[in-house]
Symmetry: C2
Subunit: 171 residues, 2 copies
């Protein structure tokens, strides 16, 4: 009985969608698959589903991709997808440092949007400007060190962790 | 002036020490160096400093190791180190699922210890039993998926993020 309940809980979709269209590294994509599945995203969007067969991907994803809805959404169709999700009532949230970005977990800031599409940028240059303007808001992870930025999978893990901390089961 | 202030802030040591003695993969150790430096740990302990020259390490660490106090603490001397830190007033916190572990970020649980030594386990089997008994308490990251566990660098990132969320500058 306990096992059945666990499975029911585990496969329940939430209102978090993760966009990794701009992430190129199979290793990072494998890591994103793992964190997206563990924190219960309803879908992960990537540029090319071919990466699922890459050994660098599978070495990090540890079969998480079998339990996750992974969708092929290359750059040319991403903006249309984001607009359609917004029309359905979702909030588009970029993970990016901008002059108006909110600091993740800041107790003075509002909670993360509940029904949210989370957009990760490229490893080197972040979210392209033409997609950044499609974001309703941006969130940044406060850093205390000198190193430029978090790896994309650890940045995504912090955001997904924080969403779960704020919303729990999301019900 | 802004840059000077930023540097002063960035190099300030905090009361977080990260123990990665049981982590073998140079890739994971590079990732741990990066998150430890970014979230301002005062030290990272690893089994063998030789890994700092490994190309898999440096590809992920992005020179974070230059700004971080990395100490060689192999398994045989770890227990003595943990005991000496406890005697100095530090709390030893294992990142591990146990029958008494606290869920990270649970609003009903106490805050993370402020002056804390955070112990990560091996990638496959977690914290060895003889070291687990040296931990004052354990914290686990609640998971919603079917995948066994988070990668060690994403798990560490969630714990360090949460410490900073709770304690801020730690002053």
């Amino acid at each position: 009985l306990t096992l059945v309940e666990k499975k029911t809980q585990a496969t329940k979709a939430t209102e978090m969608i993760l966009i990794a269209t701009f992430v190129d590294s199979p290793y990072n994509l494998g890591g994103l698959s793992r964190v997206a599945e563990i924190f219960g995203c309803s879908a992960l969007h990537i540029s090319d589903l071919g990466v699922l067969k890459d050994s660098a991907f599978t070495s990090v994803s540890v079969t998480s991709e079998s339990n996750l809805n992974i969708v092929q959404t290359p750059p040319p169709i991403l903006k249309g997808f984001l607009r359609s999700k917004r029309a359905e009532g979702w909030t588009i949230l970029g993970v990016e440092q901008t002059d108006s970005s909110i600091v993740l977990g800041d107790e003075k800031a509002p909670k993360l949007p509940k029904k949210v599409v989370i957009v990760m940028g490229t490893e080197k240059t972040g979210i392209p400007p033409d997609v950044l303007v499609e974001c309703d808001s941006c969130v940044e992870i406060k850093q205390w060190g000198l190193t430029r930025s978090l790896n994309v999978q650890t940045a995504a893990a912090a955001v997904l962790y924080e969403w779960r901390r704020e919303w729990g089961d999301g019900l």
